[in-house]
């Protein structure tokens, strides 16, 4: 493996770290793994707004299932 490849990976890792920091600050409630998955999906071409909407939807669903009131919302 070339050093260029490893550079790229390192850079990706760092960017992901920063994105995670921002996500924490914005209080999105995403953990790192979820964020990584989402980033990957967006990289893959998923519309970010749609993805966000899906996640919101999923959260509401799970809340409805557990019967708890929503802790976050827009």
């Amino acid at each position: 493996m070339s050093s260029r490849e490893s550079d790229r990976i390192t850079a990706a890792q760092q960017t992901l770290d920063i994105l995670y920091d921002i996500s924490q600050l914005l209080n999105t409630g995403l953990d790192k793994e979820t964020l990584a998955t989402c980033v990957n999906m967006i990289e893959g071409g998923v519309n970010p707004e749609a993805l966000a909407a899906v996640i919101q939807e999923l959260r509401r669903e799970s809340q409805a299932l557990s019967g708890k009131p929503a802790t976050n919302g827009r």
Binding site: S6, I9, A11, I18
Partner: protein, 981 residues
């Protein structure tokens, strides 16, 4: 997207969540930086998609809560205080490279990858230095070897069965201990040699302690002191001394700033050397202390001068008079201190090199070295000799004289602060002279080391003044230069001689005047001054031939530096050994070298000026015009003029009228076809109102003056003084001619033939007249031929060879002085001159007597009107009867009002041996109306005889003298010898 996030930030700020806003902003900034850094299309997270990610995050974001603020704070904290390289983090990062885990990558990965990784993860590389880790506590240290193994290059960490390294901490501690063991300056340091052994004659190191034990007990030796003794090694002591010499803090010598020995280094008595007694050590160290003190004083002096030099520029609101008159810091002084500073730095460098040698030898890297205080002392003396002591002495002496105090000066570093009592130029000269004298002293003592160093200081200090010489020759004057501007207007005739002079100082009281010219420049100062003046004048005349400042390679474009001249001059003596090379420091050699350097420029400037004056200002034309008029060299025209003048006198008209004189002259001068003088430039005038007495005495003519309006630059040659002398010579010639013409008008023969009863008396008159005219003719002949003509010819010959304006002025002045002295017009021949005037007066008196005796039988070719003459004659006769003609009286009277300045000055030389000529035709004898003409003539004759003899004696004594005019007077004396025949 950016805008959205910024909206969040703003919202946070509005809600007073500053920390949160800051954190968000910082995170955004970091992201942007990161994006710029990794602008790679192939990267896993593409830069173009970052806005999309952000959009996603914003879409999911929820209002911040307490946990968010905490996180924000934590985040900011992490940013501002980057985490220490916690081993765990590195470890984790390495482990996170999951696909590359295992032994196989150790060989594949080059070492740089690790470094890079560390660098990019935002942390600094873990230091490999064991010193950092020694501070960590034991629990951390235990993990360090493992990390070190990973961080080490694979070659080192390759083997699994590698022996376990001993804990680094211990090794480092050991190093520290070892190093500390060599730090002799620590208070707990102890020498490894025993200080308690008994005295052993074979072991030098037992001497010091033994002596101390003995003397210390007795408390008799003050030097030994009572404090706790500490012994150090001699090489360490030498290092300390070297530091002291460089003016640094040290253990051996202490700087005192108060007390009896204020501002000096004193040896420290508590540190001892094993093999020296306290007294020996003290005396050695005292010698070093003296040198260190000298050096320190010089350093303080230099830094004070530097501080002053730097401050003056920024301090324009000081009073101007202080700034100009007693500016304490002069360029020469600054250059001097720079040169001294150079010497000090050389010394410091030398000390540092010695210290380096010691350290290298100690480490085994250099040559083996014997280090001892005494050898250091000797090396210093060999290398620097007395240089610094001498410089300090020079500075002190110069300072003392600058302040005009009698007690010796110690605190020389206050020199720039206190006002100097001499102008900067004089101070500079004093400084340079003192330096040069010091150099010469040391050369004569054979101390070439000091002399060489002093010479380099001298040459550095002389640089500014030499540069000023260069600027002066380019027509720029520095305040500090030894040439002074008297601020005369350019058109002043004295401008050339007095406009710029060599600066002098003092002269009041008994102090001798001290010039501001340094001794080594004194021989060339005059030519430098003249060259500068010549350049200035040429520039004023707008002769740009060779002086164009802006043309490269022209006048003074390459002014060599002083050291360059010195170098060239020394180079010529190269090869004859260093001793003779240094002998070059004598003042004569220096002057010669400088003379060679400036001669070309000086002669060029002067020569150009001379050519310009002669060629473009028509110098010779004006000169010949002046001579034609004043010396009556143009005989025919001037004879006409004189005749017109005498006619006017005889006809009792106002002959001294300004307009008459000048009109008459103009008519005469312009009569011929040849224009020999520009009449508009000549002005005749007569001061005084003695026109009435002109028929009694030739002294009435004394007020004559001729002005020649010479054009501008030539006024320097033909100044008012010169014209005054010309006028006086003109007057003398005019007087002689007046007497001559009066005598010649008397017609003795024939006219009186019918009066036979008067025949005998007529003979007496005839004899008298011939005697008088003989003398007058002899005198006129001598003056016209042997004085004026001969001198003018000689002067013209010399004048053509003059190469500078100064030469011209000098030659011309000499020429005038010669003519004046030969015409007996100078003060030391006052008596002779008066005798001559008496004889001339006698001629006029004789003429009057004759007219009274025989009626007006004078022959006057220019008599116009009988009527007028008759009236005049009657008046003259009437006056003759009532008038009292006393020559001695009239002479006295004339002398009083015509030459008052002369009356104080009687001759010095002739007064002693020659009697005052007494023309004793006393008033009583003259006034007796019944006195016969014969008696009167007898008296006159004897009087004339006495006067001529007196003049003859005087002239003979002048001819016998050793003066340069003796031959000329010889001629006159020879001619006067005929009187007796």
């Amino acid at each position: 997207m950016d805008k959205l996030i910024r909206g969040h930030i703003q919202k946070a700020r509005i809600n007073s969540h500053d920390t949160f806003a800051d954190a968000l902003q910082a995170a955004l900034r970091t992201l942007k930086t990161q994006a710029q850094k990794n602008n790679d299309l192939d990267s896993e997270i593409k830069t173009v998609l970052l806005p999309a990610h952000l959009q996603f995050l914003v879409a999911l974001s929820s209002p911040p809560d307490e946990a968010t603020f905490e996180r924000a704070e934590y985040y900011l904290d992490g940013l501002s205080n980057p985490k220490r390289p916690v081993p765990g983090l590195t470890w984790e990062a390495i482990l996170a490279e999951e696909p590359f885990e295992g032994e196989h990558w150790e060989g594949i990965y080059p070492r740089s990858t690790d470094d890079q990784f560390d660098a990019q993860s935002g942390s600094s590389t873990p230091s490999l230095s064991p010193w950092d880790d020694s501070d960590l506590d034991e629990s951390v240290t235990s993990s360090i070897p493992d990390i070190d193994e990973d961080a080490l290059p694979p070659e080192a960490a390759g083997g699994i069965d590698k022996p376990y390294l001993p804990p680094a901490a211990y090794r480092h501690r050991q190093d520290v201990e070892d190093l500390q063991a060599r730090q002799y300056w620590r208070s707990e340091w102890r020498t490894d040699a025993s200080t308690t052994r008994a005295f052993n004659i074979g072991d030098a190191s037992t001497l010091g302690p033994t002596m101390y034990r003995i003397l210390g007990d007795q408390h008799t030796n003050g030097i030994a002191g009572s404090s706790r003794q500490k012994y150090i090694h001699e090489h360490d002591a030498v290092r300390e001394v070297l530091m002291a010499l460089q003016g640094d803090r040290n253990m051996m010598l202490g700087w005192l700033s108060s007390g009896g020995h204020a501002f000096s280094f004193t040896p420290n008595a508590t540190l001892k050397l094993l093999h020296l007694t306290a007294g020996a050590q003290h005396s050695i160290l005292t010698s070093f202390a003296r040198l260190a003190t000298t050096l320190q004083h010089l350093r303080m002096f230099v830094s004070a001068i530097y501080a002053k030099a730097g401050k003056d520029d920024r301090d324009p609101d000081r009073p101007m008079h202080l700034l100009n008159i007693y500016r304490q810091s002069t360029l020469t002084l600054e250059a001097f201190s720079a040169a001294v500073d150079g010497q000090l730095r050389a010394f410091n460098a030398w000390c540092a090199a010695r210290e380096e040698d010691i350290c290298r030898a100690q480490a085994g890297a250099g040559e083996p070295l014997v280090v001892s205080l005494l050898s250091l002392d000797k090396t210093i003396r060999d290398t620097f000799s007395d240089t610094f002591t001498v410089i300090l002495d020079v500075v002190r002496e110069v300072t003392r004289r600058a302040w005009r105090t009698s007690e010796p000066v110690v605190d020389i570093w206050t020199l720039p602060e206190l006002p100097m009592k001499m102008p900067p130029s004089t101070f500079g000269a004093l400084l340079l002279d003192s330096l040069l004298v010091a150099v010469q002293e040391h050369v004569s003592m054979g101390d070439y080391v000091s002399a060489d160093a002093l010479m380099s200081v001298f040459s550095g200090s002389a640089e500014p003044i030499w540069a000023m010489v260069g600027r002066w020759m380019k027509d720029e004057l520095d305040d500090e230069f030894f040439v002074e501007d008297n601020e005369l207007p350019l058109l002043d005739p004295d401008f050339w001689t007095d406009g710029f002079v060599l600066r002098e100082e003092g002269g009041d009281g008994d102090a001798p005047r001290r010039t501001a010219v340094p001794v080594f420049l004194s021989s060339v100062a005059r030519s430098i001054l003249d060259a500068g003046k010549a350049v200035g004048l040429l520039r004023v005349l707008e002769i740009a031939a060779l002086l164009d400042r802006d043309t490269p390679g022209s006048w003074m474009a390459h002014w060599p530096s002083f050291s360059a001249i010195l170098g060239t001059a020394r180079g010529q003596l190269e090869g004859s050994g260093p001793a003779s090379r240094l002998l070059f420091t004598s003042t004569e050699d220096l002057s010669q070298a400088l003379h060679d350097a400036v001669w070309l420029h000086c002669s060029l400037a002067q020569g150009t000026l001379q050519r310009v004056l002669v060629d473009e200002c028509d110098l010779m034309l004006h000169l010949s015009a002046i001579e034609s008029v004043c010396l009556m060299r143009r005989g025919d025209a001037m004879s006409h003029f004189v005749d017109i003048l005498f006619t006017k006198m005889d006809s009792k008209q106002a002959w001294n009228d300004f307009h008459f004189l000048n009109t008459a002259f103009r008519d005469v001068a312009e009569a011929g076809t040849h224009r020999w003088v520009d009449t508009s430039l000549v002005r005749f005038s007569h001061k005084g109102s003695k026109d009435k007495s002109v028929n009694r005495t030739v002294r009435a003519l004394d007020g004559f003056s001729i002005e020649y309006a010479i054009p501008f630059p030539l006024t320097y040659v033909f100044g008012p003084k010169a014209m005054q002398i010309y006028s006086s010579i003109f007057t003398l010639v005019l007087q002689i001619r007046r007497a001559k013409s009066v005598l010649e008008r008397i017609l003795v023969r024939g006219a009186m033939g019918h009066a036979s009863h008067m025949a005998s008396e007529m003979k007496a008159f005839y004899a008298m007249r011939s005697k008088l005219s003989w003398f007058v003719n002899t005198l006129l002949n001598f003056v016209a031929t042997n004085v004026l003509d001969a001198e003018v010819l000689r002067f013209h010959k010399d004048f053509r060879q003059a190469v500078s304006l100064n030469d011209m002025i000098r030659l011309h002045d000499e020429h005038l002085a010669k003519m004046e002295s030969r015409c007996l017009l100078q003060r030391n021949t006052n008596a002779l001159q008066r005798a001559i005037v008496s004889i001339l007066d006698m001629s006029i008196h004789f003429s009057d007597c004759f007219v009274a005796f025989a009626g007006d039988t004078t022959h006057d070719i220019s008599r116009h009107s009988i009527l007028v003459m008759k009236r005049h004659r009657s008046r003259r006769v009437r006056r003759q009867k009532k008038d009292v003609i006393g020559f001695s009286q009239s002479m006295q009277g004339e002398a009083d009002d015509s030459s008052e300045s002369d009356s104080d000055f009687d001759d010095d030389r002739l007064k002693a041996n020659a009697p005052e000529p007494s023309f004793s035709l006393g008033a009583s004898t003259m006034s007796a109306p019944e006195e016969s003409f014969v008696d009167r003539l007898d008296k006159m004759s004897s009087e004339l005889d006495a006067l001529v003899r007196f003049i003859r004696r005087g002239v003979e004594s002048l001819a016998a003298g050793s003066g340069e005019a003796a031959p000329a007077f010889g001629v006159f004396a020879f001619a006067l010898e005929d009187w007796d025949r």
